[in-house]
């Protein structure tokens, strides 16, 4: 029901915040061209949490780089509210798995960075930064450097550094990978709560199917080589989500369905890896007995 309310609020504006439209992206040189994404299209609906899943190497991070504006597509377009994305901007902020906190700034300095470069007044910056630091529970650590924080705290600092800018789209690329199980669960809960309070449009990448279904409104599954959309699943579990939903019937159904699709693609990816490995071995060493 609450999801329907959120759509109602956003009804005045187009339902999609981001359109990925026929995007093709290749890597490598002229003669060694690798197609990473090919004619990939999907939308990111406003006020929803979209989860992106697919086998390793299928192009999820590449897609994120395109949406964030770090790279440009070879063909097709990425549009934010109808306007093509031409470069990075604070309306789309990314938290990657690897920390991108500035090591030479304190937690406060990192969180305040976006406001400082926008030349807000010191008082306004302080007010905003301290409020958001309190929200992510890092107020007491504001004078620490990133290297002095635990992984979970670093991730929360990055979230705070992004959230202070009121982005239209929050992009999370496997943000909780590398955290221990307990911290991970706390972070999931933390982000879910934040999302359910604010309906901040989110694109979330993860390898964990449970995590994906638990968090998602929509699940976008990608294929491997070329990267295209295989299927989009609507996760119609009610919000607010709770860990008890892991035991619900609907959860199992969604899980089974998504799992069979993922396994199919992962097998393909694995087989592709094996083939190329066999090719290399065969190329390096002539077959025995020759």
């Amino acid at each position: 029901m609450s999801a329907a309310v959120a759509t109602g609020i956003a009804a005045a504006q187009p339902a999609r915040l981001v359109d990925v439209d026929g995007v093709t992206k290749c890597f490598g040189t002229e003669d060694d061209r690798q197609i990473c994404l090919e004619s990939c299209s999907f939308g990111i609906p406003r006020g929803k949490l979209t989860v992106l899943m697919g086998p390793s190497g299928c192009g999820k991070t590449t897609l994120i780089n395109l949406i964030a504006g770090y790279e440009l597509p070879d063909r097709g377009s990425v549009r934010l509210e109808g306007a093509p994305v031409a470069g990075p901007g604070s309306d789309r902020l990314v938290v990657f798995q690897e920390t991108t906190l500035f090591p030479w700034m304190t937690v406060y300095g990192n969180v305040a960075f976006g406001c400082k470069v926008k030349r807000l007044s010191q008082a306004a910056i302080r007010e905003k930064a301290e409020r958001i630091l309190a929200k992510v529970g890092l107020y007491a650590f504001r004078d620490k450097y990133p290297s002095q924080l635990s992984g979970g705290m670093q991730r929360r600092t990055e979230l705070a550094r992004a959230l202070i800018n009121d982005p239209k789209l929050m992009i999370l690329d496997e943000p909780f990978r590398g955290l221990d199980a307990m911290t991970r669960e706390l972070m999931q809960e933390f982000y879910l709560k934040l999302f359910e309070e604010t309906c901040l449009t989110t694109l979330f990448v993860t390898h964990e199917l449970e995590e994906a279904i638990f968090m998602a409104d929509r699940l976008v599954l990608l294929t491997y080589k070329p990267g295209q959309v295989k299927e989009i699943l609507d996760v119609d579990l009610p919000r607010p989500r709770h860990f008890s939903m892991f035991a619900s019937k609907r959860f199992f159904e969604l899980h089974d369905h998504a799992m069979s699709l993922l396994v199919e693609e992962s097998k393909k990816a694995f087989a592709a890896g094996c083939t190329s490995a066999f090719d290399q071995i065969a190329g390096a060493r002539p077959p025995a007995g020759g």
């Binding site: 964030a68 901007g89 604070s90 991108t100 500035f102 030479w104 960075f113 450097y145």
Partner: protein, 274 residues
């Protein structure tokens, strides 16, 4: 209240002093001291037993005597002052010119393409090989010494800073751009602090190189300075004084490296262990 606070403070200081004394008497210092004693004993033995090739060495006591005689002279401390001044000025100029140049070459592809080939040709020439040219080129010997002492650390710092800028993680630049940073912010808030560790490495290596070149230059071209003092001891055949000169140069180099390290650490609080 305040008296207890004072007492606490005092007892804190007493604790710190006792910890310091314990530090001095620790096993590690004991080991260090015994190695030193063993070294002097071996030296004494080598000279008294007339071990081949080592029998020309003076006795440790002779060197010590030469040292105590020398440190009370004005000339000795003038040598120190002159060498330190030369190092300070040349090293400073090398940093002031080298750091911006390194940053420029690290940030701008174009300036690197233009300038780097010159560097690649000139850099492999050991700084000491510049001595003859420098002496002929500069009007005074003093200027030649400054120029030579400048060249060594200059190349070191430029290359280190350039490499340091190039090694800054591209994801940090992207993150800053995403957050709305303008080119000026990227330079002052990302590039410069990101290159700071390499700047410090360049300075640490550079100060060593500067001493190398300075001593060689002083021996050939100078009238005063620690290098000159050692060289004059050689021309007078005064081996104990040569050794005093060498030890002084060692101490001077060690002190300068220490200063560079302390300055560097105070510039990079995020690197401090805590």
């Amino acid at each position: 209240m305040s008296s207890t606070a004072l007492e606490l403070k005092r007892s804190g200081r007493a604790l710190r002093i006792s910890a310091y004394v314990r530090g001095i008497l620790s096993l590690k210092t004991l080991q260090g001291v015994s190695t030193l004693v063993a070294f002097v004993a071996l030296w004494q033995a080598a000279v008294s037993l007339k071990v081949p090739y080592l029998s020309n060495l003076p006795y440790p006591a002779d060197v010590w005597k030469s040292f105590t005689d020398t440190v009370v002279t004005r000339a000795y401390w003038i040598s120190w002052a002159v060498s330190l001044e030369r190092i300070f000025v040349s090293f400073l100029v090398a940093q002031v010119l080298g750091i911006p140049l390194g940053l420029l070459m690290g940030i701008s592809r174009k300036s690197k393409d233009i300038l780097f080939p010159v560097f690649e040709i000139v850099r492999p020439i050991p700084p000491i090989a510049w001595i003859p040219l420098a002496i002929l080129f500069w009007p005074t010997e003093e200027l030649s010494i400054y120029a030579l002492t400048f060249i060594g650390p200059f190349f070191v710092i430029v290359l280190n800073v350039m490499q340091g800028v190039a090694n800054i993680d591209v994801s940090l630049k992207r993150a800053a751009l995403s957050l709305g940073a303008k080119p000026g912010d990227i330079f002052w808030k990302i590039m410069l602090p990101g290159a700071l560790p390499s700047i410090l490495t360049g300075m640490t290596v550079g100060i060593g190189v500067a001493w190398n070149v300075l001593i060689a230059a002083e021996m050939i071209a100078g009238h005063v300075g620690l290098g000159r003092m050692t060289w004059e001891a050689y021309t007078n055949g005064n081996i104990p004084l040569i050794m005093v000169g060498m030890a002084s140069i060692g101490v001077a180099g060690y002190l300068c490296s220490g200063v560079v390290r302390i300055v560097g650490q105070s510039c990079m609080p995020w690197r401090r262990r805590s």
